[in-house]
C-alpha cells in the first residue's frame, strides 16, 4: 500500500507521467545494449536487497507513477551508470558510496538476462475486443 500520494510534491495522476519523463532516457528498448561482464545472479539479489524493485518492479517492468521500465534490453551500460550517478528526474542519485561500479554491472547483467515479454497480440486479456462492453 501507499501511505500517501507524494505528500511533499503533490504529484497528481497526470502530472506523474510528466515527472517520469525525466527518467525515460534510461529506457530505450531499441538501443544497443553493451555486453555486460556482470554476474546476473548476484545482480538479481542486489536488485532486490537495494530496493530497485520498489520503483521499477521485480521484473524491471516499471510504473508510470514511480519509475520507468528498465528491462529487458536496458540502455547502454555507460549511459545506465551515468544516469544512476547523476539522474535528471526524480530518481535519487546513487553514488559509488552506495552502489559500486561492480554492483551496477551485476544489476545490469540481471536486467539483460530478463526474458523477453510475451507478444501482446497473443494475450487475450489485452486484446482490444476485451475492452468492449455489452450494452446494458
Amino acid at each position: 500500500m501507499d501511505r500517501a500520494v507524494s505528500r511533499r510534491c503533490g504529484i497528481r495522476r497526470f502530472i506523474a507521467p510528466l515527472m517520469i519523463a525525466g527518467f525515460l532516457i534510461v529506457v530505450c528498448p531499441g538501443a544497443e545494449a553493451q555486453a555486460s561482464t556482470g554476474n546476473a545472479k548476484n545482480g538479481k539479489q542486489i536488485y532486490a536487497s537495494f530496493g530497485c524493485y520498489e520503483c521499477h518492479g521485480r521484473e524491471g517492468q516499471g510504473s508510470v507513477l514511480s519509475g520507468p521500465r528498465i528491462g529487458p534490453h536496458p540502455i547502454q551500460f555507460s549511459a545506465f551508470v551515468k544516469y544512476i550517478r547523476q539522474p535528471k528526474g526524480q530518481m535519487p542519485p546513487y553514488t559509488d558510496k552506495v552502489v559500486s561500479e561492480v554492483e551496477l554491472a551485476d544489476i545490469y547483467a540481471f536486467l539483460q538476462s530478463l526474458p523477453p515479454p510475451p507478444d501482446p497480440k497473443k494475450i487475450p486479456l489485452l486484446n482490444p475486443d476485451s475492452g468492449a462492453k455489452k450494452s446494458k
Binding site: M1, D2, G10, R12, L18, G57, S66, P117, S130, G131
Partner: protein
Amino acid sequence: MAKSKTSSVGRRNFLKTAAAGSVATLIAGAQPSIHSRSAAPIMSKAAETGNPASVEVLTTDRPGSDFMIDVFKSLGLEYICANPGSSFRGLQESVVNYGGNKAPEFITCCHEESAVGMAHGYAKIEGKPLGVFAHSTVGLQHAAMAIFNAYCDRVPVYIVLGNTIDATMRRPGVEWDHSVQDAAAMVRDYVKWDDLPISLPHFAESAVRAYKIAMTPPMMPVLLVSDAELQENPVADNAGLRIPKLTLATPPQGDSGAVAEAARLLVAAENPVIVADRAARTPAGMAHLIELAETLQAPVIDQAARLNFPTRHPLNHSQRGREVIAEADVILGLELTDFWGVVTSFRDQLQRSSRFIAADGVKLISMTAGDLYMKGNYQDIQRYPEVDLAIAADAEATLPSLIEAVKRLINEDRKRTFQGRGSKLASAQQDAFEQTRTDAIYGWDANPISTARLSAELWAQIKDKDWSLVSDVAPGMSNWPLRLWEFDKHYQFIGGAGGYGVGYGAPAAVGAALANRKHGRLSVNIQCDGDLMYAPGVLWTAAHHHIPLLNIMHNNRAYHQEVMHLQRMANRHNRGIKRAGIGTTISDPNIDFAKLAQSMGVHGEGPISDPKDLAPAIRRAIEVVERGEPALVDVVTQPR
C-alpha cells in the same frame, strides 16, 4: 441552579433514582459476599414498592430525539453510520424504534473513522450525504481524519455529534471526559459549517441549514452538535415544532462576461487543453464536459478525483499529459486544486527546483468553486496559480453557458480547423492506448502478480456486468484500471481520499457499495493492505449489513510510498539503501487477509501470488457478491 426541580425531568432524575437504588442495595446487604459483589444489584424493597416523588416524571412518549429524527427523515438521510455512544443514545433509540430503523437505517460501524469514510464513499456515488452520529470528545477525535479527507475531497458529510452541554446534568465520571465546551473546535478547520442548537426549533433550522450548506458547492462536511438533554427531554405539548422547508442553493455559475472571454480564448486557440479534477459532480457534469471537448475538439486530461471523462474517448489524453500541456496555448482548468502543478514540474532532490513546463505565453483559465471558499490553517490549497482568467464558480453548473458561448463563436473556418485537430488527437490517443497494452506485458507472468496483470484479470471478469470501481487506483495500482478499462459512466469511479489520509480506502468502498446496492451494481474495491489495517472492522460492517462488495487486495506488504521516501533519504545521506524496509514494510509475519475476512463473516480467499490462480478466485468471489454478500481475494502484488 436556573432550572427548578419541577422542570428537571427525564434523564437526570432517572440517574438520581438509579444512584439512590444502588445506595439502598449496599445498605441492605450488611456484609456483601463475593457473590453479591459480582452479581447485578438487587432492588431494595423500598425502591420496588415506594412511589417516586410526585414531581418526577420517569418516562415520556415523545422525546426531543423523535423530532430530530423527523427532521432527518425530511432531509432524506437513508442511513446513519455510527459507532454507538451514550451522548447520542436518545437519537439512536429514536432511529431504531420511533423511526422504525428505516430511512435512516442505523449502520453499525466499528470506528468513527470508518463511519465518516463510509459517508464519504456513499456521497460520491449517491450525490448526497448520509448521516454520521459521533460520540462527543472521543468519537469526534476518532472521526477527525476521515472528516479531513472529505473536506479536501469536497464531499458533503452530515455529522451529528452528541454532547452534554449542561455540566450539572452530566453523570459523574466518564460523561465529564466525554463532554466538551466547544466540540466543533476540534474539526472547525475542516468542516464548512457547525452549530450548537439549544432548542428543538433551533435544531430544526440548523439541521436544514447544515444540509443546505453541505450541498452547496464547494461541498464539504458539516457538523451539528446535538445536546443530550435536548435529545432525551420530552417535547412540550405546546412546542409548536415545525420543520423548515429545504431549498438547496443553486450552484454558483460563472460571471457571463468571464465565461464569454473564456469562450473567446478557447475558440481562438490552436491547441486548447481541458484539465478536470473534481469537475463532474454528477453524470450531467460528465456529459457537459464531453460536449465541450467535442465542440472544441480539445484534448481532456482527467485527473480523476471523479470520473470526468470516458477513458476510451478519442479526446481523453490523460496518458499524454506532458505532451499536450507542452503544446497548449490555452489551458482550461476545471475544479483543480493544483493548477500550479499542472504547468510546473517539481524536482525533489537535495536542491529542490521547479520548472514551468507549459509553452511561453500560454493562457490559463481556472474555473473552480474553490475560489469561493477557502480556509488557511490546513494547506490543501496548494501553490498559488498564476492564471489569466479566474472564474470563481462551480464548473459543472457553468459548463452549459460556456458551451453555448463557444458554439456562438465557431464559424465554418474554425470548425474545419477543429475537425483536423480532432483527427490527429484521435490517432494519438489510439497510439497511446496501444503503448499502454505493450507496457502491460512486462512482468505479465511475474510472481508476485503485476498490477497490470491484476487489472487485466479483474477487468475480464467484470466488464460485462454493471460494475463500479469504488477505490482509487493511484498510485498503488499505477493507474492500470484507468488505462486499460473502459469507464464511461460517472458512478464507475469515485477517485481517492482527497486529503491522502490512509484508512480511507476500505470504509469509502463499503459506503459506496452501500449506495450501489439498491442500484444492483457490482461494487469492486482494489484494496491496499496498509489502508485496510487502519480499521479492518469495516469488513464486519459489510458482512453484518449484507453490503455486496468485491474486495481485491493489492497486497504489496509495505507502506510502499514510504519505502521510497526512506530510500531517497538514505541515498541523499550516502548511507546505503539496504535498510529502507525498516519501519516501512508489512511482513514478518505476512498478514493473512483471507483469514481476517473470514473471521468477520466475509468470504475470503488467498493469498494468491501466481497469476494463473487469479481468475478462478475472482469468479468465485463474484458469485458470493452477486448473492448480496461481501468477499475478499488476497492478491500478493508487485509494489506498484
